[in-house]
Symmetry: C2
Subunit: 332 residues, 2 copies
DNA sequence: TTGTACGCGTTATCAA
DNA sequence: TTGATAACGCGTACAA
């Protein structure tokens, strides 16, 4: 069997209170007895039972990450930052992947009840007001990354500005006919990636005296297939664009495939800009609007730890910016 | 505050024992009282405290995954299978990423002590005999995936055969001068990916009356850069090969880059076969020896659950096979 | 400075 | 069928 605090106390010839004090190097313990206790701990290879500990302390020393489809490249890259930061605090990482609304609601309602985790990082999922309220009510620290709630600390990327900059770049390169492939607009939250990117596109075009005509615009699944199909429609229309801005790199990969199958040369006949900056974009030489994914994860955890230390801290709204990475699918 | 079993008992006018019986629908409880208890549970929105539960039951309802650099594409794809299977059993997933030998040893020695997880899945890391012995001694269920120990249930891929098949394929396509870029051989375990793949290569060449000369062989980092540098050396040698077999897709991506920079046409002047079958290989049209990654994760969890149900079950050795996926970097 | 006793929220045992 | 009570392993007042 594995040693308990009682065994240590017995071997060291002290009370369990003293052992506990040594472990948590709390208040003063006479050097001599401390030595004896330490020796006993070593001899028995004693490790405090974390379960029993959290029973008292209400701390689990682990943090939870809720993400939809965390296996998508975007989340994976955020997760890297999350993992490194979490490990740096010596905390464990519990993954909650949600693939359905039901799983999401389950997470949102059950997790706060009994602390299996000390705090939660939520990726790309904006809880509604009731849920956010509940998090605050029970005092569970929560940080939103790539999502927004007025009641919770949120790290958001300036999607509108990112899209705006991408279009401006294309305009400056002389493009007049610019298409836009967006992802599906889900939910009706204030912070919505697709809506914001669309707004940025509209804004930039409008400033240039242009507008986004229906035949140059598609809203499709956030996937390679979605991107390919949308691109096939746009690129086979009567008067095809000379440039496409695509709301995600994954979709942009599909666009590249479509262009190839239609024998449209990139970037000579078609410039392409993606969004996200996932690893694949580099391999394919895709020009993209890069999100600071690693930083989103890392900073999210830092904020979460702050919140765990000080649960009453007021929610913050933190904006992060995107950066255009010029590669082979645009000609500068 | 959040309700406890005592609150429920009080509201329902019964003892806590009865409430516990209702929760675990154990033995007979009179329908009438069961109703009352259920009503109280509902009214108070009571959920049993998982921490207190595992205090008694010694079960945490969560499983741990130990992986080196889990953000590498290979692990990510295994992790997808792991995640789905874990969720299907209603268990939580705790991630232990190890980047250093120190972290690995820490995991191996601490995790077994006090069950923060009911079982552990270890990816691509072969614990030595003492560690494996210790896992068994304390009765912690462990499954190895892409790793091997005679003392632990192991799911291993037939690396030797995979490499053998790849070379055979190239030989059948008429290649006489075949190069091999391997990954670094780490550790000195019985199951070693790099060693086994090298052996498969040697075996196939030998059967064809050929051998692997030094100028056609490189051992380099499991990375894009490693692959690129190795390829540059091999492809600029006096008598360059007409085909390259590469021990991982990641490295093969580097090989593609090298070929491009040297203006060597693929597959006309150089055939390339990778290993792994990660998503990028599909995007780049890379012919590769596909590992059943998803299945490795999924089946690993199934085996682990079996072991958790029956901890004394003898260790099994399960072989998985690879499949050649023909794409654009070979010409059939 | 140190030991004892109590409580954390459950499950399990044992009378009743 | 049910209720009281003893664990589970630890932290911590409180008393010594």
């Amino acid at each position: 069997m594995v040693a308990t605090i009682h065994d240590v106390a017995r071997v060291a010839g002290v009370g369990i209170g003293t052992v506990s004090r040594v472990i948590n190097n709390n208040t003063s313990v006479k050097p001599g007895t401390r030595e004896r206790v330490l020796a006993a701990i070593n001899q028995l290879n004693y490790k405090p039972n974390p379960i029993a500990r959290s029973m008292i302390s209400k701390r689990t020393n682990s943090i939870g990450v809720i993400a939809p489809f965390f296996t998508r490249p975007f989340f994976m890259e955020v997760l890297q930052g999350v993992e490194v930061a979490t490990a740096s605090y010596g905390k464990e990482l519990v993954l909650y992947n949600v693939r359905t609304d039901e799983q999401r609601d389950h997470c949102f309602s059950d997790l706060p009840m009994h602390r299996k985790v000390d705090g939660v990082l939520i990726l790309s999922l904006s809880p509604d007001e009731a849920v956010a309220q509940n998090f605050r009510r029970v005092g569970l620290p929560v940080v939103l990354v790539d999502a927004y709630s007025p009641l919770l600390t949120s790290l958001v990327v300036n999607n509108k500005d990112g899209a705006y900059q991408a279009i401006q770049y294309l305009l400056r390169a002389g493009h007049q006919r610019i298409g836009f492939i967006n992802g599906i607009i889900e939910g009706n939250f204030k912070f919505n990636q697709a809506t914001d990117r669309l707004e940025g596109v509209r804004c930039a075009l409008q400033e240039a005296g242009l507008s986004l005509s229906a035949d140059l615009q598609e809203e499709t699944a956030w996937s390679r297939l979605g991107g390919r199909e949308a691109a096939l429609r746009i690129l086979t229309s009567a008067h095809r664009p000379s440039a496409l801005f695509v709301a995600s790199d994954i979709q942009a990969v599909g666009v590249l495939e479509a262009a190839k199958s239609l024998h449209i040369r990139v970037p000579e006949e078609l410039a392409i800009i993606g969004f996200d900056g996932i690893e694949i974009s580099e391999l394919l030489g895709l020009t993209t609007m890069q999100q600071p994914m690693w930083q989103m994860g890392e900073q999210g955890i830092h904020k979460l730890i702050e919140l765990i230390e000080d649960p009453l801290h007021a929610p913050e709204l933190i904006w992060l910016n995107t950066t255009l990475i010029e590669r082979a699918t645009t000609s500068g």
